[in-house]
């Protein structure tokens, strides 16, 4: 005897009330909402970076023998291949025999065998497209720029075609919040807040980031417990930065995309241009030497004249790049320290005295053409 149950998930009619039980006799029509069993839990998981997994639980009354359950999802963006349906209890006697896909329909049917008449709780999981998620952050930096309060928001917009009357939304870092979410609606919630997060401020000259050669102001946050973070990997998202102006209010001081930052890693945020530090580049020597046949080396001296017009001393990091095979020469001068980050990149730290007194970084190198 073939018993037929019906699960319907259709359009705005809803994820919240979609599972139906049919009479023990086979039926073809979909069961009306009024006769449906209550949904017990809907969970929407965002732990995958691109996919959204929806899980719902239903208690279904089964008859002895083979039962057929229909599931259809017209008007919603469910990924058919992703649907997983199973009893919740591990030691269940119930068995799912087969899954059938009717042609040209957003639907399927399961054949389930049951040793007796019973109520069984099932869990239905599937990937749902067009539920957008977005992370953003608000940082309020202290007046002295030593610490900040960091708020982490999570925003979801539902274009899936389904409506969530109430669901547990679970972020990638395991935060759960219960909300309702209509089709087309977006909701933004505060999921984490950290106070007293330590920050480092850096002045950086790097033509690959600022091609006009202006000096950037970066805030560097370390995602560690010591620095006041380190609880979760920080998702990619826009960080809007405000600073306490010392008068009981704040001013917006810039924004940047915060890259995905695992625990232990740095999040670097450019807040804007440090207009009081100016760098003037001059090539002082640009010569060819050691000509052999059609190859030669070059001898180059690049000079960076830095003026810090602030009232206090500052440290500037210059990130410079030379392509190919090259060697820095010993008479390079004017820096406090340097680090050759990789073959092409060298990073100089230069102490810049206050009030516009110029300091010169001399970067002398030879490009070698060895074969």
């Amino acid at each position: 005897m073939n018993k037929r149950l019906l699960l319907t998930l259709a359009g705005a009619a809803a994820i919240s009330s979609v599972i139906g039980i049919a009479k023990p006799e086979p039926v073809n029509a979909r069961i009306k909402l009024a006769t449906l069993p209550d949904k017990e839990a809907v969970v929407v998981r965002f732990d995958h970076p691109h996919q959204v997994l929806v899980e719902e639980e239903r208690t279904i009354t089964l008859q002895k023998g083979v039962n057929t359950i229909d599931f259809s999802w017209a008007g919603t963006n469910i990924d058919k291949g992703s649907i997983v349906f199973r009893p919740v209890a591990a030691d269940t006697k119930v068995e799912i025999l087969s899954t059938s896909y009717p042609p040209g329909e957003a639907a399927l049917t399961w054949s389930i065998s049951s040793p007796d008449a019973r109520s069984e709780k099932f869990r239905l999981s599937y990937l749902m497209a067009n539920i957008q998620r977005e992370t953003d952050y608000r940082a309020i930096v202290s007046n002295d720029e030593k610490t900040l309060s960091f708020k982490h928001y999570f925003k979801i917009r539902n274009w899936s075609g389904g409506t969530f009357d109430s669901a547990d939304f679970i972020t990638r870092d395991g935060k759960t919040f219960e909300k309702g979410l209509d089709q087309g609606e977006a909701k933004r919630v505060l999921v984490n807040k950290w106070d007293g997060v330590k920050l480092t401020k850096e002045y950086v000259y790097d033509l690959t980031r600022q091609y006009e050669g202006k000096v950037m102001t970066d805030y560097v946050l370390k995602n560690t417990k010591d620095m006041g973070l380190g609880a979760i990997p920080l998702e990619y998202g826009k960080v809007r930065i405000y600073q306490d102006d010392g008068k009981g209010t704040t001013a917006f001081t810039g924004e940047d995309w915060g890259q995905f930052t695992p625990i232990g890693d740095d999040m670097r945020l450019n807040i804007g241009i440090a207009q009081d530090i100016k760098v003037e580049f001059k090539k002082m020597v640009n010569n060819v030497e050691n000509r052999r046949g059609n190859v030669y080396d070059t001898n180059e001296v690049d000079e960076y004249e830095i003026k810090n017009f602030k009232d206090s001393e500052a440290t500037l990091i210059l990130v410079l790049r030379v392509q190919g095979e090259w060697e820095m020469q010993k008479d390079s001068s004017g820096y406090e320290s340097f680090e050759r980050e990789d073959n092409e990149t060298i990073k100089f730290k230069v102490k810049c005295p206050a009030k516009g007194e110029p300091v010169k970084l001399k970067f002398h190198y030879k490009r070698l053409n060895n074969w």
Binding site: T249, T253, G254, I271, G272, M284, V285, K310
Partner: protein, 415 residues
């Protein structure tokens, strides 16, 4: 714009209009099209969940920037979520839980585009051009679609980083309510009877200019305020030859520094247009020159290009051209030229017809594998620029000679 939806599920039926905003503060940026608006209102909350609707039709507000912040009783109210309903892209609803019926002073802040400010400078030169009176202005223009009455105005000097344009995020259309604005502007003007001070303070890499008192800036209007006036700012005149920067002519640059020696230097000067005038007699002005300057830090220099001056002349001529050191190579049974040098003699003929001494800065740009030689002292600016710096008395004329040897072909040594 702001309405409360007391514990209701259906927005429209429960719409309650709230009292007008009590205060408005505008923080206007000049490097990007962005203004931070903060307004405060007194709100009453019922126990439980309160729904508060905020809408901004016909304005240029960025929906992602709207923030709710309780200034009083902050521990009694909490924002549970912010909902952006599907049916409107110019509205949001906050669900705010209150542990007991309470009232709170709340601040709503958001970014809008369409309000801008700019700096302008007027310099009035003394008759000898050795000093000037410098007046700095700030101008504010409102094309945001919203009128801000009695607003506290703060201007941010600096270049903040913005990763998405506010106007694009706002996505709305502006509604130019010019006629309405006009009447309000007139009223605002009538009430103004004293010049306002502008207080300047540093914050991080920026400066904040706070305009004293309150301003009404109707939509579609601009307003200019005086930022400071400084008399007796010393000026230097440098005649500069630098084809890379100023083209093939000798230009007159009027130079001053934003420092204490020049009676300035109290704060950086925001980017803006500097216009210099001279006294043309009988209270009339003569225009001298203008420049759109970048931000000028404290202690940095400003150069205003006053163009060519017929009373000061420079002529550059080549007096000789020779080829030397020819070398040849065989190809088959023929010889071909393979390397040579050119030897050129140049003369700069400089005349100062003015009745005062003047400074010169002459930049000579060279290329290729060259040797530069001159009896007149010069400085190497970079690997292809030599500079002569001179001071010449009133009526003086002078010739500067230099020679350039350039190697070509196989004669090239180090290029």
């Amino acid at each position: 714009m702001l309405s409360a939806l007391t514990p209701a599920l259906h927005a429209k039926e429960e719409l309650v209009t709230l009292p007008k905003r009590d205060t408005v503060q505008l923080t206007i940026y000049n490097s990007v099209d962005l203004t931070l608006v903060r307004e405060t209102r007194e709100l009453t909350f019922k126990q439980g969940n309160n729904r508060l609707q905020f809408s901004w039709a016909n304005t240029l507000i960025d929906p992602t920037s709207v923030e709710f912040n309780a200034l009083t009783n902050a521990d009694k109210v909490e924002v549970l979520d912010t909902s952006y309903p599907a049916q409107s892209n110019q509205m949001l609803i906050w669900t705010i839980s209150a542990e007991a019926a309470t009232s709170a002073r709340v601040e709503i802040s958001y970014f809008t585009s369409g309000i801008s400010w700019n700096a302008e400078y007027h310099g009035m030169l003394s008759t000898d051009e050795r000093s000037m009176t410098l007046t700095a202005y700030v101008g504010v223009s409102n094309h945001s679609g919203e009128e801000y009455e009695d607003a506290k105005v703060r201007l941010v000097v600096g270049s903040i980083n913005i990763v998405e344009e506010i106007a694009a995020l706002a996505g709305g259309q502006r509604d130019e309510r010019m006629k309405e604005a006009y009447g309000k502007m007139r009223r605002a003007d009538a009430s103004e009877n004293a010049k306002k001070d502008i207080v300047k303070e540093g914050l991080s890499e920026y400066y904040i200019y706070t305009v004293e008192g309150q301003e009404t800036i109707p939509n579609g209007w601009s307003k200019r305020l005086e930022s400071f006036v400084q008399t007796g700012v010393p000026l230097r005149t440098v005649y500069t030859w630098d084809p890379a920067k100023y083209g093939n002519q000798l230009v007159k640059l009027l130079v001053f520094k934003n420092d204490e020696a020049h009676k300035l230097g109290k704060e950086p000067l925001p980017a803006g247009i500097v216009r210099l005038y001279r006294d043309a007699g009988a209270g009339r002005l003569g225009f001298v020159g203008m420049v759109a300057t970048d931000y000028i830090p404290k202690n940095d220099e400003v150069k205003v290009n006053a163009g060519a001056d017929p009373e000061v002349q420079l002529k550059s001529k080549r007096n000789s051209y020779k080829k030397e050191n020819l070398t040849f190579q065989w190809s088959g049974n023929r010889q071909y030229i393979a390397g040579w040098d050119t030897l050129e003699e140049f003369e700069l003929d400089i005349k100062n017809f003015r009745n005062r001494d003047v400074d010169f800065e002459i930049n000579v740009r060279l290329s290729g594998d060259f040797d530069f030689d001159s009896k007149t002292e010069s400085t190497k600016i970079d690997f292809q620029t030599q500079r002569f710096a001179l001071n010449m008395k009133a009526g003086e004329s002078r010739q500067i000679s230099y020679t350039v040897r350039t190697r070509f072909g196989t004669n090239i040594k180090n290029k």
